[in-house]
Every structure is written in C-alpha cells, then in structure tokens.
Amino acid sequence: MRSVERSAFWTGVVDVLPFIVMVVPFATLFGVVAIEAGLSLAQTLSFSVLVIAGASQFAALQLMLDNAAIGFILAAALAVNLRMAMYSAALAPHLGGAPLLQRAFIGYLNFDHSYVLAVAKYEDQPDMPLPSRVAYFSGVSLTIAPLWCLFTYIGAEIGAWIPSNWEVSFVVPLAFLSTVAPMLKSPAHIAAAGVSIVLALALAGLPSGSGLLIAALCAMITGVVVETLLERSS
C-alpha cells in the first residue's frame, strides 16, 4: 500500500469508530440469543462470520425458534437484506472499476455502516482515486467485521451462563424495535410499517413465515404508493 492509500485506510478506521458502540452490543446479543436458542458455538460463529448482517441473523433465528419451513426462513432473512442490493447499486459507480477480486471482497463486506460512510465520503471527495476509495472502504469494514465476530463469540460464552428464567429471547423484538423506529422518517414509512404489523398479526395463523411475506409485500407496495401520492400532491 502506498502512503496515500494507507492514510485513506486509517481515515476509514477513524470514521467508523462511533459505530462500534452500536455493533458491540448487537453482536453480543446475537451470541447470547443464538446459544440460548440451541445453536452450537460453531454454528453461532459461522452465522456472524459468513452472513455479517445482524437483522437477518436475528430474523432467521426467530423463525427457527418457531420451527418455520426452511424456505420461509431463507425468504425472510434475505428479504431483510434486500436493501443491500441498493447499497451495491450505490457503490457501483464509485468502485465498479476495481478488479473482480476486490469487488467480491467489497461485496462480502457491504453492510449498513460501510455503505453509509463510503458513499458519504465518495460524494464528498469526488476526486479520490480508485485505490484510495478501496482502501477507505477496507478501513471501515475491516474494523467493524472482526468486532462483529469477536463479540458474537463473547456473547455466546456469556449466554451459557445466563439463567434460563431471564427470558433472553425477548431481547430480539427489543432489538428489532430499536432498529426500525429511527427508520420511520416519513408518512410513507409509517404507513408501510402499519400495514406490515396489521397484516402480520391478521395472517399469523398461516403456516409460519408465509403470513409475514404477504404482509411485507403489501407493506412495500403501500410505502411506494403513499410516497408517490405525497410527491404528486406537493
């Protein structure tokens, strides 16, 4: 690495430091809840190392606790991650020129924090050369990802010690609620969330997982329709 790239890498490391406060408790909780749910230590760690996407990991775990069909577990977990296709599209103009292996590496580490920081940086400094952009992205993601895995491990070790009457599984809905609430930025988002809740409860009797998918599809359509109508009327 030349010194320009090295400095871009370290800028990324410094920029991502505030996000650590958020990643550490979530990773720990995932470790705790996964072990309590009955996954082995190897399975819990593999989840965090291979998937690195908290919300979808929690979603899969919850549906596994409900003994949902495997197809529905996959559909729900991947639906939660679909937003990352948008991240991929947003990063492509900035990083699309990198060699295939580097792009595969970026794809693997393309999650909320790395996307948010990288796109903000690239838009702020349009003259940044491509190798520096890759270095910046690496600085951000290579700081967060190992911590995500390390604290999953620590959580898994702690989880074995927590008394079973603590009802640790209720941490999952609390984590989801805290994740979603700040995303309710507009009436369209609130409408989508409302439709999701009402339909998911109404369809809870359907085979596990399928009611949620129908609710989510209707909620997405609601969001787009409400947003479009509001834009037209203003």
Binding site: S46, Q62, M86, L184, S196, A200
Partner: protein
C-alpha cells in the same frame, strides 16, 4: 427448535450465499449501470416492511413467557420504540428497552 444439524448448517450456508449475491449484485455483474428508480424506491422500504410485521407477534405472544404477554413486555417494547424514535439512535432504544425489561431481575439480584 426442531431441525437436524445438517438443516441448521444448510440454513446458515444458504443465507450466507444469498446475502453475498445481494451485496455483490450491482458491484459484480451489472457494473456501473443504475437501478430502475421504481425498484430502488421499493427496496428502500424492505426494512420497514419486514421488521415490524416480524416483531408484532413477538411482542404480543412472547416465545418464552410462561404467562403470555405482561405489562412488562409492553412497557419494554414501548420504551425501545419511543426512545429510538425520539433520539433517532438504535443504541438508546436498545438500552431503554433492556433497562425496563431486566429492571425486575436486576433489582431482585441486588
């Protein structure tokens, strides 16, 4: 949980592969082409469309609660939503929810 070891590994592997495919998609295959605006707009709603529907039954019918939903569950859930919404920070919502939910056990320990 009622899956064989093989099924658990299969679930983890398939989510990993699928997630990578989603993340790599535009970077890898489509290059620097833009996504159709309507698709981009729809995708932006996936988290708010999926997560609330997933969470509502968990709050009303908690998995491990011996006596079903209690005032404590509802208070913790409200604290998490309210705090996260007002502060716009996930971490504060999380701490508020955990604080309310585990306050009784923590007081019992003291």
């Amino acid at each position: 949980m009622n899956y064989s070891q093989f099924e658990i590994w299969l679930i983890i592997a398939l989510i990993a592969v699928g997630t990578f495919a989603i993340r790599f998609s535009f970077l890898g295959l489509i290059g620097s082409k833009r996504m159709a605006p309507v698709i981009e707009r729809t995708l932006r709603f996936t988290p708010v469309a999926v997560l609330p529907g997933m969470v509502a039954p968990l709050v009303l019918w908690p998995t491990d609660a011996a006596d079903g939903v209690t005032l404590l569950h509802l208070a913790a859930a409200s604290a998490a939503v309210g705090t996260a919404y007002l502060t716009r920070k996930v971490i504060w919502g999380m701490l508020a929810g955990l604080g309310v939910f585990f306050a009784p056990v923590i007081f019992a320990l003291l």
